[in-house]
Symmetry: D3
Subunit: 247 residues, 6 copies
């Protein structure tokens, strides 16, 4: 049993609240245990300069934490005047993951801006961001479809993410901050509804890991991600207007 | 009747949720109509360099808006690499207002960091920040008192704020964004529980105003602020451990 | 009697030197006691992007202090790499105040850049900037009229500003730095020639103030501002080519 | 056969030149085909603030590309005034990878600064940086041992890295830029001499990948990394003074 | 005859006004034709970190232009967020030139901050800055001597500077902006009262120059600089308390 | 004899390796003793905004040092977020020097970007940059001529640079870092193949120099520069396709 009464292979309680923000084209508040991330999707009817005239769309993500999302107050990046390396890495990961399940040609010449703002942090903020952002994207695109401005269904598959780690030689699913901070190996996995891998990032900061552990960690992540996708499916209901038909 | 079914002299519905964030020493989510601001108070057991050894404390505030708090997505100041003038002006106002009702000597050699993050914006975010921050400060100081680290009650009085404006020649209390953006005169007033003025900021961007209008606007603001302070009183309950006895 | 032999309700000696800078379309050196501010007005024959095609002009202001304008040398903002909050607040105030008496449609599609550079500071630099900038603007617009490029008279009224404060329970007009730094309440008022208010900014940093004090402070400011406008009138002479006829 | 006459599972020619820079405590120029990275290791006899008094050392890495390392000239990050996300991600990866095989306690209270500067880029610059940096670190530590300032052997194992990718449905080892830019899946693997994984970063930007492909890609990377470590062993000769004895 | 009725070898009219700023330890407004530079010298009773405990002082200079010093308004470097290359080059030149005639050991462990702010520019602002800064430095040091805090006379010699250039194949002394902007060769010379060279910076942007021209330009500059030093001598009067006795 | 067995008037060994970088239109690695600078020339088929439609080209230079080019590791300017004054001064010097021997009209509407990156520093990096950049420029232009895109020969003359300094009252050619750091006078000279001066920058930081010394230093520099140009001539071979015929 873990500190929060979970089994090693158990996710935390997850809640997804759609349409949390009235102004955004799509928005979702995702809560994974005490981690709370507000995800919004904004539609901009143009593409960045490098894609002008290319007949396709773009999706880009920004990530930030409120100063008191963390146990100790974190200085604002706006006050420091620049983004830290961790922030940049996470926002690149979120954008890349969503691009993997989006058909940018079918999105048309528009940009989706994804904003993931961590209201409260307790581990797993980047994976919660991806899981929540998927819901916001679906809602934003559904709205476009309803308004008739989006011609096709641009989404190829569901998308969710979770973490796995080695803590005191035990393999744990969905790490809280307390577990994450003492994990010898830390892995973030992003996966689709059809169990295809999108990102595998396994890191041993002070330790290394074996091929067998790599495989077991991906196995464990998969069980968690399928539960997250089941929740997305339940929360979103029918999304056939934006999801491509599976062959 | 205004667009949202209010009378000219009527506040929007206001809700204050205490302890919204588990990590912060004090926190409050304040909702004024569709405006939602998350206020936290952080206690740091040291003072900035210019006050070292001065035998007193300090309070400072930071303010920010999430990108999709607004109708059109606003670029992050962290991405632009610097704070805008509006942000700086607002965070200076929040800090100054709270300093007016705090006895910094009785606070002791510690710093209160106030963070006001606008989750959703619909006018009046700076005044809602002040009203909500007061609650977060009370809770943070009450916690210090309970832990026995704070010797005295450092708060002199309640504190709240609201806006008043001239819209189409009518004087309105507590402007929504839609009203604020067409107001010819805009005034923000910060006031204490004993009706003392802390800040009066009246501005005519494209118009001017008379002495009589100044007076009437302050009168109208006072009625709103007293209601806000009644709500703070109700939400906070007994705060005698941190509030100085009134002479 | 105050330290510099003034009565409580007395302005410092004020001098305005027109055309101080040969390159600028309009310029004025304003001296208020030991405070010296160089104000220039630059005409640019285009408007910022957000006003393109809107058939109106714009006015914007920048404010800065030379490092040794102050008693202790102040670090340059150019060296620090960013503007401070105080600077931003002041330049927003100057721009907003001038916009209140300018008819931007009659200005035509051009931008007025106001630069207020404090050569020597002894309190009241922001209000001196406004009073001096008005003169520079009049001269710049008069030059445009002479050249025939400006079709109409775009100025609605005279504009000047001064400060009032509570120092040791006494209400003083036009504070020097020494007075300002110990004032419990500090107020800046911007007013037109017809006694209409443009900005009222009253602030109690460590104290609060009553409704009656608010009124008395505005009364006192008015007496000072009318003297400043009398001086502007004298210095400028006939400005009927740029000043709209009063109804 | 690939464009440069290699088999799918074949590394490019690799050369490592030790002591390329006379000033640095350790340095190596690594050439992997046309990719050329200059790696230096600098010893600083102090640790960053967060480790003061912790009785351990630190290692940190910086990465940069010369403007004409690339086919099109790339703007300098110094000229842009900030590091890009890709640079930050790579320097975090290099530092983390080296920390995994370094015993920071045995390093003592000193910092190793790793600089990886790409002189010419043709794909695989981050993995070449890791492979080359290992050699620079060994040389820097060997010098410390010779001077008698380093008490123990702080290295746990050899360390090298390479890339694998899916290009036109074929799995290729050690991608050139031309291959990398059209790869549907891209994986970077960092591994030790005893075949333990340090980092696995698999990314599908516009495609996804299966569990089986993940396994085969790690297999293929392993064959390449073992050849790189054989080269390191040959180039470095006896490193027993800095390498811990294997249990 | 030149446009302003000068001979080729004639300086513009030069005026130096001492003690222009009441707050500064030393200050001088120097006017060279239409060029006006305000120079101040600030004494700080500590040295920069790299000189702590070295038993000597330091002198450093900053240079800036007001936006409307120039014919076209120049954007503020504070607004752009960084100093331009020209500014950095000039402030390095001013500091270096003054260091050449100051005995830093005899200055004691203090820093002289020189600020040169161009109020109006018409060519030769960097050389006017040096000539004016010398006067401000003498006054600041004389004040230190009077207060008894400075033990010795730290100045070795007078210091002044001027420009020379080739314009339409004619060699001109002390270029105005109009001449400078079309000069094929431009030279700035800094020289002491005993005709020793401190800086010679000759530049042909679109042309080159011969050895003979180099010599003639330095000759011509010398005649101008000796006149400037005569003016400094007259303006400053007896400076024996800060000037070392000449051997 | 100097520390490295040179006579006072002797250059260090100089090697120039052409085409060091495969991607660049022109590139040269220049080694002057232990100083090693990689110079590249990039051709961009457009001009900066201020020259659009002016019927001429442009040349601009950037300069940087790798962190371990120096004996002590130097912090990266990209990490600090801004260029230092020394860097800006040097890149302005390199650009200006090359412009003096280039006919910008005959270059056509294109920009030459020169990058000088110091791999290892031992004094004289700015003069080595100029000497090496000339070779890279010739190669880049020769390539343009071969491709037929450049109509005329835009180079007017050879160009090289060296340093001279006063060290312990002795005049030395081509200073190493060890000599440069104790020189009382330091001079950089840029000269053409026909012995015309392009830049003369003589600086006495803590000392001054006489007219006679100025002349002797330029004489000595000339002997060195002619040797450098002889080497350029040998390395480059026939450059008549890009060099204008001498009258």
């Amino acid at each position: 049993m873990r500190g929060d009464e979970r089994l090693a292979n158990q996710l935390r309680d997850v809640t997804i609240t759609r349409n949390y923000i009235k102004h955004a084209e799509g928005s979702a508040l995702i809560e994974v245990g005490n981690t709370r991330v507000l995800c919004t999707a904004t539609v901009e009817e143009k593409v960045p300069p490098f894609l002008r005239g290319a007949g396709q769309g773009w999706i880009t993500a920004e990530y930030s934490m409120l100063p008191r999302a963390t146990e100790q107050r974190t200085q604002r990046e706006a006050t420091r005047g620049k983004l830290g390396g961790r922030t940049m890495e996470i926002q690149r990961l979120i954008g890349r993951s969503l691009r993997a399940i989006l058909d940018l040609k079918d999105l048309g010449e528009r940009t989706l801006w994804i904003d993931c703002d961590v209201i409260q942090a307790d581990g797993g903020t980047r994976t919660a961001s991806i899981t929540g952002a998927f819901v916001a994207v679906v809602d934003a695109l559904t709205n476009l479809r309803k308004r008739g401005t989006l011609q096709k269904a641009p989404i190829r598959d569901y998308l969710a993410a979770t973490s796995v780690g080695m803590v005191n030689d035990e393999m744990l699913l969905d790490l809280r901050y307390k577990e994450d901070s003492i994990a010898s190996v830390d892995m973030n996995i992003v996966m689709t509804g059809s169990k295809r891998l999108v990102e595998v990032q396994g890191t041993g900061e002070s330790a290394t890991f074996s091929r067998q552990q790599l495989n077991e960690m991906v196995d464990l992540a998969e069980t968690g991600i399928l539960q997250l996708i089941a929740l997305q499916t339940e929360v979103l209901g029918d999304i056939s207007s934006v999801m491509k038909k599976q062959a």
